[in-house]
């Protein structure tokens, strides 16, 4: 008994060591995480310190190009774009994270169900095909045009679009895992279905789910920005990055910074999340170790 407990600790000490070593060499993951943390700091600082009021209009400073005083310039109402972008961080990140989380949860439930219970597989996957067939932006536009623009509808609309992708991934993993001898062994040992799905299969999917989840979050942020930019997204009074850029559409020839600077910030944030996803994939994927040998 005691020896077992001790050795469990030892095992817990051995595996994380390799994990940490891989983490140290994982440039994508570290860089992505660092940039994201930077964004979070900026976000918190913006709310705490209120460096500049995002809604403060200074009529004398309308459409100023970027300068030391206004890093990203000002818009047609004289509002400081940097301040607006800093404040917008929370809304943009939140929408991305929420949509990804929601999509992953719903998609996983559907995928597990379709993969394990063959009787409903056909039905679920045809519905997923149907959703896949409608371009994501169309689903979002349609939902928002019917249900009105609010954070809830935008998150829902974006999440719906991602459900089929996740469900497919989960389903195919479940299908291939059903054939694995260790799952058959669990059947032979008398483990009930729920235990096999939750204890053997779900942990096996979590890694790829985390990776896909980050990509979905990145995509969700892009989609949210695009929707807001087109005027079909969150209400214009919420300063998300997309809404800030939407303000600059008609003024682009005179004041390109209204779009280009927030656009660059958005691209950086999405890039960071994508890098995080690549990094997670490298971290989880044992083949990277195989190729090192």
């Amino acid at each position: 008994m005691i020896t077992v407990a001790q050795n469990e600790n030892n095992a817990a000490g051995v595996a994380p060591k390799a994990w940490l070593r891989r983490l140290r060499n994982n440039g994508n993951l570290l860089l992505g995480a660092a940039v994201l943390i930077l964004f979070l700091i900026v976000m918190v600082l913006a709310h705490l310190l209120g460096a500049a009021d995002p809604q403060a209009m200074t009529t004398s400073e309308r459409l100023h190009p970027p300068s030391l005083q206004h890093w990203f310039g000002t818009d047609r109402l004289g509002r400081d774009i940097y301040a607006r972008v800093a404040f917008g961080t929370s809304a943009s990140l939140a929408v991305g994270a929420a949509a990804a989380a929601l999509g992953c949860i719903i998609g996983t439930i559907f995928g597990l169900a379709a993969g394990y219970f063959r009787s409903i597989d056909m039905l679920i996957m045809r519905v997923m095909d149907g959703i896949m067939a409608i371009p994501g932006i169309m689903i979002a536009i349609a939902t928002i045009s019917v249900a009105g623009a609010s954070i809830t509808t935008v998150v829902l609309a974006i999440a719906v679009h991602d459900v089929p992708r996740i469900a497919r991934l989960v389903r195919s993993s479940v299908l291939s895992m059903r054939e694995e001898p260790y799952v058959e062994a669990a059947v032979m040992l008398g483990s009930p279905s729920w235990s096999i799905v939750l204890r053997h299969m779900l942990p096996g999917i979590l890694a790829s789910l985390a990776v896909l989840g980050t990509y979905v979050a990145a995509n969700a942020m892009l989609l949210e920005a695009t929707l807001s930019f087109l005027g079909c997204g969150l209400p214009p009074d919420i300063p998300t990055w997309g809404n800030i850029m939407a303000d600059g559409r008609i003024l682009f020839r005179i004041a390109p910074w209204i779009i280009l600077f927030p656009g660059a910030v958005l691209a950086f944030a999405v890039l960071a999340i994508n890098l995080l996803g690549d990094g997670l994939r490298d971290q989880f994927d044992p083949t990277t170790e195989k190729t090192m040998r």
Binding site: S145, T226, L230, P256, L271
Partner: protein, 312 residues
């Protein structure tokens, strides 16, 4: 082979049906079309008459059937805003959208496939890393930002390209191309990255296959290995992703047409959404979804030609 095509067509029917039902329900949820059609001052009798004329007093199932019958005859109803037939409005806009989509697809494939193969060929050295980084970056920049960047650089700063707008083919091929260059590049940015990534991954996977070793063992040159063995065997995932990526192209259409002021279906969508012109939105969703389904059907058929194992 014919049987395969037949069954693929059969398989597309439930998807088309599901999409149709969803789109129909969408219109029902969007509110009473009569109210928006007649405005607020209509009398109850007027409303009832129109409802009867439009068949809205019949059971939902019957309404759906009559609606779908009309749809298949090209009758999508009447715009709530312009009071023109919806299909007429949409078809007038098809030219620009088709031009832009086709140039994008052709351009993307021509750039992305060689790029992906090149990266796979130079796996693990700096060329590969450069292309992979480019791809990750390309995924992260939204299409409209790329579009505006191109407008700013080529139209405003350098003044090489016309800023915005569209010239239809009958005004000359040169003008047509000139107006499509920037939108095509903007829209291709994501598509290229997508195809290049899959091409690279597919080629790397194929390169690890035993038959590549066989090809080398019989003395085939690298070029021959890539041309006859890698490309042909990696073709299935590449063609598949091109099909799936059509969704991205269709999304790109909406954004790009707005940025470049092209009079296409995508901009019509946005205009209709802002005006809450539901019959038009409905028609566009149907059009886009069916395009997606049928292109993917074509993709399935193409890859059954590419890979003999799928045919059986």
């Amino acid at each position: 082979m014919l049987r395969f095509i037949f069954y693929r067509l059969l398989g597309a029917i439930p998807v088309v049906g599901l999409v149709s039902i969803a789109v129909f329900l969408f219109l029902r949820m969007a509110g009473d079309p009569v109210a928006s059609l007649l405005g607020e001052n209509a009398t109850a009798q007027q409303v009832a008459e129109i409802r009867h004329a439009m068949g809205l007093d019949r059971p939902v199932m019957m309404q759906f059937l009559s609606w779908i019958l009309h749809v298949f005859q090209g009758d999508f109803g009447i715009s709530l805003v312009t009071h023109e037939p919806v299909w007429k409005m949409v078809s007038e806009r098809l030219g620009a959208t088709l031009s832009l989509s086709l140039t994008t697809i052709v351009f993307s494939i021509l750039v992305a496939v060689p790029l992906g193969l090149f990266a796979a060929r130079h796996r693990k050295n700096w060329i590969d890393r450069l292309i992979v980084s480019f791809c990750t970056a390309g995924f992260s920049v939204p299409t409209f930002v790329v579009g505006y960047l191109l407008v700013w650089l080529f139209s405003i700063k350098l003044q090489w390209l016309p800023a915005q707008g569209y010239a239809s083919l009958d005004r000359g091929v040169g003008d047509w191309i000139l107006h499509l260059i920037a939108p095509t590049i903007a829209m291709s940015s994501v598509f290229i990255v997508l195809i290049a990534r899959i091409t690279r991954a597919g080629a790397i996977e194929v390169l690890n296959e035993d038959y590549i070793r066989t090809a080398r063992a019989i003395g085939a040159s690298e070029l021959r290995v890539f041309r006859l063995f890698v490309l042909r065997n990696a073709a299935v995932p590449i063609v598949t992703i091109i099909g799936v990526g059509i969704g991205i192209v269709l999304t790109g259409v909406v954004v790009t047409e707005t940025v470049f002021n092209l009079p296409g279906v995508g901009r019509l969508t946005i205009e209709s959404v802002l005006a809450r012109d539901f019959p038009v939105i409905q028609c566009v969703i149907m059009l886009f979804s069916f395009t997606y389904v049928f292109i993917n059907l074509a993709v399935d058929i193409i890859y059954s030609l590419l890979d003999p194992r799928i045919r059986n």
